[in-house]
Every structure is written in C-alpha cells, then in structure tokens.
C-alpha cells in the first residue's frame, strides 16, 4: 500500500533498505549462530547518518521524528531483529536525555549519539523490577558533589557495547514513585562494571548483560531532570520508544511473509505449487491482512506521537501490542507454510519465529500494554 511518504521519508526508506539488503541480510544467519555484536554493520549505519534521524539538528542530528525512525527500523527489522534491536537500544538510551536532560547535558551527549560514535543504553529492569518498576532496588545517594550508585540492573540491551547509560535509581524510598531519579552513567565511571553476556532464544546479535554498580561515583550534574522525576521520564521514554518495537514486528512480519509466499510458489506437491491450494492461500492472505493492518496502525500511532507529544500512551501501547502479536502469529505461520524446511536452520523463518517472541516481552510486556490501554480508556470515559 502507498503511504504517501515525502521525498525525505522515501530517502530514509531507500537507504535503510539498502543497508538491510546489502549488509544485514547476508550476515544475519552467521550473527545468530556466533552471537557476535554487529559492530561493522552499525558502523555503516552510523556513516549513513541514521543514528541521528530523531536527534534535533542543533545536536548534529537530522531532526526528524518518531515516524522517520519507524521507517528506518521497519527495514532493519525486515533484515534482522537482533541487529535492529542493537540499533534501536541506542535511541531508547538517548530519549531520557532528550526528554528531561538539561541543555548542557544534551550538548554533551547527543552529538556523539547522533553520529553513532557512542552508543547509548537504557537501564530500568532489575531482578525484582520488570513490569512492576516500583520494585527497583538500585539506589543513588548524594555525597558532596557526587552521586553514589549501588545495585544491579538486569537484561540491559547494548550493555558492554554502549558508552552512555541512562539509569533509574531510588533517591528517596520514603517518597514511593516520586523517590526515583534518572542518571547518566558513562562506561568509564569508577565502580561501574558488566555481568556476563546472556544466552538468548533469539535476537542473538544484540548483547544483553547486567550492569553492576558498586559504590559507583558520578558527578552531581549527571542527574537527568529534577530529583524524583525518574518514573515520569521512564514512562515518557517508553511511550516514545514503543512504536519502534512495534515496527520491528512489522518489518519481521514482512520478511516472514516474503519467505512464505516465495516458498509457496516454488514448492510443488500433488503436481502443483502449494500456493494454489486454498489452505495455504488463506494462511498467506491472513498473514498479509494482519501485517498491513499492523503497519497502518504503527504509522498512524507514530504520526500521532509526533503531533501530540503530551498524549502518547494509548496510541503507543495499542500499536505495540497489535504489531508484535501479529509478528508472533505471522512468523509461526511462515514456519508452517515452509513445513519441515521451515524448521531447519537452512531457511531463515525459524530464526524469525525465535526473534518474534521477545517483541511481545520487552519494553513492557503485551499484558502491561493492555493495562495501559485499559487505564487510558477509563480516564477518557471519566472525563466525558
């Protein structure tokens, strides 16, 4: 379907597609096998200016919005969700600085993130704090001109690869949700180290590790925004970032559909290509319908977020649920269309199915997203 992109948006699509086709797709199976971080691919993405799409021009970026980053991520997701996650995680790490950072902080960090010379990462999750962010145990205590951080963050994407970390920690437990604050931690800060790299079902090209803070001392001015605003910054960050995860589902769904249709046209059983059987055709048709519906919703949500930065939550959560549930269904069906071949690692669809699962879990499980949509509905109808 034609979504009437502007010339600039089409350029982003073309460039990202070229990177997916020429650099990501030829390497994705090897990266999945070796679990190596895609440093070379991300260097090429950096040279192509794509790390700076969403960063304002005054900090060295392109100055485009959520919709434009979504267009790039769709192509990368079509190539490999692991590589795309490594790319997207830097944006997730940068958003708190963009949303709540001081002018000095933006000037200090955003230019390097825009050029891709330094990657960022976002650190919220802990062993006892995932969906329930109030379980956070990591603390930050002001000691003279320095904050002292203690605690452990878990399953942090880009950990060990990023140089800039945006981290939430409790600064005053007695204040409940208003007692959390966000900080920038740099890879070289004293008392900061990484845990071992996790072994994952999918998105193996992305790196996932613990962040360990042991009397980690950082300058006072690394506090993002005001003390006690950490949760608000986290919520705004996730509202802004979720369409990026949603669109990975769309890109992945497209890749799975492409594989399934191509195979169904070639595979002959009972003397005919299997695409001529209605049982297969209907599966492919349902995949295509769900995929296009998801794409439309994500595009619309991204444009809504760009136009209404104070009203992001519902659109953001709706598109994340729909597109990632779609990706799971479509990739499972793609494996089914390819049958035994689909189950083998010689074909890319089994990897796609493994990669799809995380999309329903990270950046807020799809159950949590439904909570958000439900709560927003409750608010809306109370007002009326």
């Amino acid at each position: 379907m034609d979504y009437f992109l502007t010339e600039e948006q089409q350029m982003i699509v073309d460039l990202s597609r070229q990177i997916a086709d020429e650099l990501i797709i030829p390497q994705r199976a090897a990266l999945d096998e070796s679990e190596d971080f895609p440093t070379e691919i991300l260097d090429a993405v950096a040279k192509a200016d794509l790390f700076g799409i969403y960063i304002p021009e005054q900090y060295g970026g392109i100055g485009a919005g959520t919709f434009e980053i979504v267009l790039a991520l769709e192509q990368f997701g079509r190539g490999c969700v692991g590589v795309a996650t490594a790319f997207a995680a830097s944006a997730l790490g940068a958003f708190p600085i963009m949303i709540a950072g001081s002018e000095e902080m933006k000037q200090k960090y955003l230019p390097d993130i825009a050029t891709g010379s330094k990657k960022a990462a976002f650190a919220l999750t802990e062993a006892n704090a995932g969906s329930d962010a109030s379980g956070i145990q990591t603390t930050a205590v002001l000691d003279g001109d320095e904050w002292v951080l203690n605690g452990t963050k878990q399953w942090i994407t880009n950990a060990g690869e990023a140089r800039i970390y945006t981290v939430i920690a409790i600064t005053d437990r007695s204040k409940g949700p208003r007692g959390a604050s966000m900080f920038v931690v740099e890879d070289t800060d004293p008392g900061f180290s990484y845990g071992v790299k996790e072994k994952k079902l999918g998105i193996r090209a992305s790196s996932t590790r613990e962040l360990i803070f042991k009397d980690c001392r950082i300058p006072k001015d690394r506090l993002i925004g005001r003390e006690g605003t950490g949760f608000i910054t986290v919520m705004k960050t996730l509202d802004k970032s979720r369409p990026g995860i949603a669109i990975l589902g769309v890109g992945l769904g497209q890749a799975a559909l492409d594989e399934a249709v191509t195979y169904a046209k070639q595979r002959v059983q009972f003397g005919k290509p299997i695409i001529s059987f209605q049982a297969v055709q209907h599966m492919l048709a349902d995949m295509a319908i769900q995929l296009e519906a998801a794409r439309s919703l994500v595009y619309a949500a991204a444009k809504h977020i760009d136009a209404h930065p104070r009203d992001m939550s519902k659109a953001s959560s709706m598109c994340k649920v729909f597109a990632t549930d779609m990706a799971m269904k479509v990739t499972v069906d793609a494996v089914q269309v390819l049958g035994g071949y689909g189950y083998m690692r010689d074909y890319p669809v089994e990897k796609m199915m493994r990669d799809a699962k995380i999309l329903q879990i990270y950046e807020g499980t799809n159950q949590i997203q439904r909570n958000v949509v439900g709560q927003e509905l409750n608010k809306e109808y109370t007002k009326a």
Partner: protein, 259 residues
C-alpha cells in the same frame, strides 16, 4: 587539495544486451549504474578529503540523465558535480573522450589530483585514464591499489602488478587509476542524499569548454566498431579414464605437453 574524480554511467552488467544492427550497447530498459571501478576512485577521493582536507569534484561526460550518477556520487561524499553534455560528444571513442574531459578539467581550473577507475565495465579499454593524463601533460599511475604516503608535493602509491606491486613516487599534479583492492566504497549517507537532491549540477557544453569540434564525438574518433559479436567457444574436451593413478599420469603428461 582539489581532487577531480572522473565517473562514467554504464549499463548494469547484470542485464547488458547488444544491438546487432548498430553494434553498440542497447541501453533501453537497462538499469544504469556508476562504473564499479569509479566508485572506488570516488571513495579514495573522499577518504583523502576527510583525512587531509580539500574538495572532491565529480566529473562525467554523458547525456543529461548521467546527472543521476553525479547525484549518487554527492550522496557518497563528493562536494561538487560537473556534467559535460552536448550532442556533439555522441559516438566518442577514448581519444575524443579524453579530449573532451581534458578541456572540461581546464575549464574548471585543473586539479591537484585526478582519480579514475581502472577501466569501465562496458568498453573495458582502460585507456581514458592514461589518455587524459597525457592530454593534461601530467604523470599518471595505473592500477593503484594503495596510496601509501601523502606529501605536500608528491604521493607514494602502490601499483598492482601480476606478480606483486610497484611502489611509485609521483609529483603532483598527477592522475591515478584505481583497482578494487584500494578500498571498500561506502553507502550513501542521509545528509549526502539530502545535499544531492538540492545540488545544482554545473553543465558544460562543447562551446563552453572551448572545444575544437573536429576533435569531438564520432568525428574526432578514429576508432570505428566494425562488428560486435559473442565469440564461439571452441575448446576441446576429452575425458580421462582409468584408475586414479592412470588418470593422474595421463593428466600430468598432457599438462607437461602444454608447458
């Protein structure tokens, strides 16, 4: 440093056809690309600029649609683009092409360094680079695989040979033709693409480069293509039979005969 990169628009080798009547390449419906060797020349120029400063100008002779490859070059790092285009240039062989390019380069004030691809994948002559250097009366090195040293008034480069490489020091201004081994060309950048979209391409006609009409196009070309054909493969084939030992002996005997 002012660097001029000569680029050529060529049909994509994946779908090239010959027109049997005119003995020329049929370009209709065939995707056009930047000659692959020229991409390496452009990449090297952009790297030199990034490291040592300067300007990279891409230059091509061709029909108006050749502006496409100039925009693509700018999206990959070139600063300016010049298109030399005139009906009078049609049918040029390498002699007429080097004349036209040399006049255009003089018109835009010459260069410290001119980079070309080793050859174009359509004509495959590898003559334009050296021919252009002779026209400009500057030294040239063909098949450069590495620029080893950049000095104020000279470069040290490695020239790829069949059995190794030569290290050559060349005074500037100079012209190099490059091989694929020299670098890995980058993809376009988003800022480059935006710049390329807005770029005003300088177009020069035969009159604007003060060209002698007799030396242009078909008139200025002593090379005439008489016939273009796909050669018949006439190789002989024979099967060697017997035990492995016998087969090896027979093969060795044949190989020795040919030595």
């Amino acid at each position: 440093m002012k660097i001029i990169v000569c680029v050529k628009q060529v049909p994509d080798a994946k779908d090239v056809r010959l027109d049997p009547k005119t003995n020329t390449l049929s370009r209709e419906g065939v995707q056009s690309i930047i000659n692959p060797y020229d991409r390496h020349a452009l990449e090297e120029a952009v790297r030199l600029k990034e490291k040592h400063g300067g300007t990279v100008i891409v230059l091509t002779m061709g029909p108006p649609q050749a502006a496409e490859i100039l925009r693509e070059s700018v999206s990959c790092g070139a600063d300016e683009a010049v298109l030399v285009s005139d009906r009078a240039f049609a049918g040029a062989d390498t002699l007429a092409t080097t004349y036209t390019l040399s006049q255009a380069i003089r018109k835009i004030g010459g260069a410290d360094l001119i980079l070309c691809g080793k050859q174009a994948i359509d004509g495959d002559t590898a003559q334009v680079g050296p021919g252009l250097a002779v026209r400009m009366d500057i030294p040239y090195v063909t098949c450069v695989r590495r620029i080893a040293q950049v000095n104020d008034k000279s470069f040290v480069v490695e020239r790829l040979m069949d059995d190794g490489y030569d290290e050559v020091e060349v005074g500037l201004p100079a012209l190099f033709t490059v091989v694929k081994e020299i670098n890995e060309p980058r993809l376009p950048s988003l800022k480059g693409k935006m710049k390329a979209k807005k770029l005003a391409i300088t177009t020069l006609t035969a009159a604007e480069i003060d060209a002698d009409v007799a030396q242009l196009g078909l008139k200025g070309s002593p090379t005439w293509v008489v016939r273009v054909f796909a050669p018949q493969l006439k190789g002989e084939r024979s099967m060697i039979a017997g035990t492995v030992q016998e087969q090896v002996d027979q093969l060795a005997e044949k190989l020795l005969e040919w030595c």
